[in-house]
C-alpha cells in the first residue's frame, strides 16, 4: 500500500551548524521559541494602557492572568508569586506550544529518504525527544534547589543531610532519592505522553486512513494541554514546598 510505517524513538539529525548536528525535534523547538518570542515582542510593541484591551493584548492578558492566578493560588504570597511566575509561565507556554506544534499536519510527515532508505522527517514535536524533556526536568529540579537556598540559605540542605537523629538521617537519604526520582518522573511523564501520542497517531493513520485518527487528534490536543499544565503546576508546588521548609510544610498544602 502506501509508505510503510516509520517510527523512531530518537530524533534524527537533519542539519549541521558549525559541526554541531541539529536534530529535527531541535529544529522544531527552535521554531517554537522563535514564535513565542515574536508573539511576546508583538504584544510589547502594541501595548496600550487601557481598561478594555482588544486584539492580541486581550489574548495575552487572558493567558498571563490565568497563569498568575494559578501560581498565586498555590503560593498565597505576592513576593513568591512574582519570583516564580516567569519560570512557571515559560514552562507552561513552551511545553504547550511544543506539544501542539507536533500535531500540525506536515510535522513528522514531510521529509526525505536517507542513504539506507529510512525516512527522516524534517520537523518533529520538540517534546517527543527525551533529551528535551530531560533538560526541562533538570532545569526545574535545579531551580527547586536554587529557590530553597535563596529562601532558607544554606540550612536548606539540612533537609537532605541531617545528623541530629538516626531517623532524620534515613529520612534525609530518602529525600535525596526522592529528589533524583523527580527528575526521572518529570522527564518520562512528558516524553511518554507526547511520544506515545505520536506513535498512536502514526499507527491509526496507517491502519484507518483519515477517519480513524480524528478522535485521537482531539485526545492529543487535550493531553498536550494537560501535560503542560501538570508540569507547570508540579513545578510551582515543589518550588513552594522548597521555600517553606521542612517543619511547616504540613500547613502549606491548600
Amino acid at each position: 500500500m502506501a509508505a510503510p510505517l516509520h517510527i523512531s524513538i530518537s530524533a534524527e539529525p537533519v542539519l549541521s551548524f558549525a559541526g554541531f548536528p541539529i536534530t529535527n525535534s531541535m529544529l522544531t523547538s527552535l521554531i517554537v521559541s522563535g514564535l513565542l518570542i515574536v508573539f511576546a515582542l508583538w504584544v510589547r510593541v502594541t501595548l496600550k494602557k487601557t481598561d478594555r484591551p482588544t486584539g492580541v493584548q486581550n489574548v495575552a492578558e487572558m493567558i498571563i492572568e490565568a497563569l498568575y492566578n494559578l501560581v498565586q493560588s498555590v503560593t498565597n504570597n505576592i513576593e513568591k508569586t512574582n519570583l516564580f511566575f516567569p519560570f512557571i509561565a515559560t514552562f507552561f507556554l513552551f511545553i504547550l506550544v511544543n506539544n501542539w506544534v507536533g500535531l500540525i499536519p506536515g510535522v513528522g510527515t514531510i521529509g526525505h529518504y536517507d542513504a539506507a532508505g529510512v525516512f527522516i522527517p524534517l520537523l518533529r514535536a520538540g517534546t517527543a525527544d527525551i533529551n528535551m524533556t530531560l533538560a526541562l526536568a533538570l532545569i526545574s529540579v535545579t531551580f527547586i534547589q536554587i529557590f530553597g537556598v535563596k529562601y532558607l540559605s544554606i540550612g536548606y540542605f539540612s533537609k537532605f543531610i541531617n545528623f541530629s537523629n538516626p531517623l532524620n538521617f534515613v529520612v534525609g537519604i530518602l529525600e535525596i532519592v526522592s529528589e533524583l526520582s523527580r527528575i526521572i518522573s518529570f522527564a518520562f511523564r512528558l516524553f511518554g505522553n507526547i511520544f506515545a501520542g505520536e506513535v498512536l497517531l502514526a499507527v491509526m493513520m496507517y491502519l484507518t486512513k483519515i477517519v480513524g485518527p480524528m478522535p485521537f487528534y482531539g485526545m492529543e490536543i487535550f493531553v498536550g494541554f494537560i501535560q503542560a499544565l501538570v508540569f507547570a503546576m508540579l513545578s510551582v508546588v515543589l518550588f513552594n514546598i522548597a521555600t517553606i521548609g521542612h517543619g511547616a510544610e504540613h500547613d502549606a498544602h491548600h
Binding site: S8, R189, G192, N193, A196, I226
Partner: protein
C-alpha cells in the same frame, strides 16, 4: 520472545494505574456530589492526581516502546 515481553510490559503495567485512576475519579465525583460549591478546586486536584497516576502507566509504555524499537 521480545514481542511477548513488550506485550507483558504494557499489559501488566496498566493494571495498577487503571485501578488507581478509577478510584481517584470515583472519590472525586463523590466529593463533588457532597459539596458542589468546591467543584472547581476538586476538579483541579483531580486532574493533577490523574496525571500522576497516569505517569506510571506511561513509564510502562516507554519501556514497551524502547523494547519494541531497539
Amino acid at each position: 520472545m521480545k514481542e511477548l515481553a513488550v506485550g507483558l510490559a504494557m499489559g501488566l503495567g496498566a493494571i495498577g494505574p487503571g485501578i488507581g485512576i478509577g478510584f481517584l475519579f470515583g472519590k472525586a465525583i463523590e466529593a463533588m456530589g457532597r459539596n458542589p460549591q468546591a467543584s472547581g478546586q476538586i476538579q483541579t486536584n483531580m486532574i493533577l492526581g490523574a496525571a500522576f497516576t497516569e505517569a506510571i502507566a506511561i513509564y510502562a509504555l516507554v519501556i514497551a516502546l524502547i523494547l519494541k524499537f531497539t
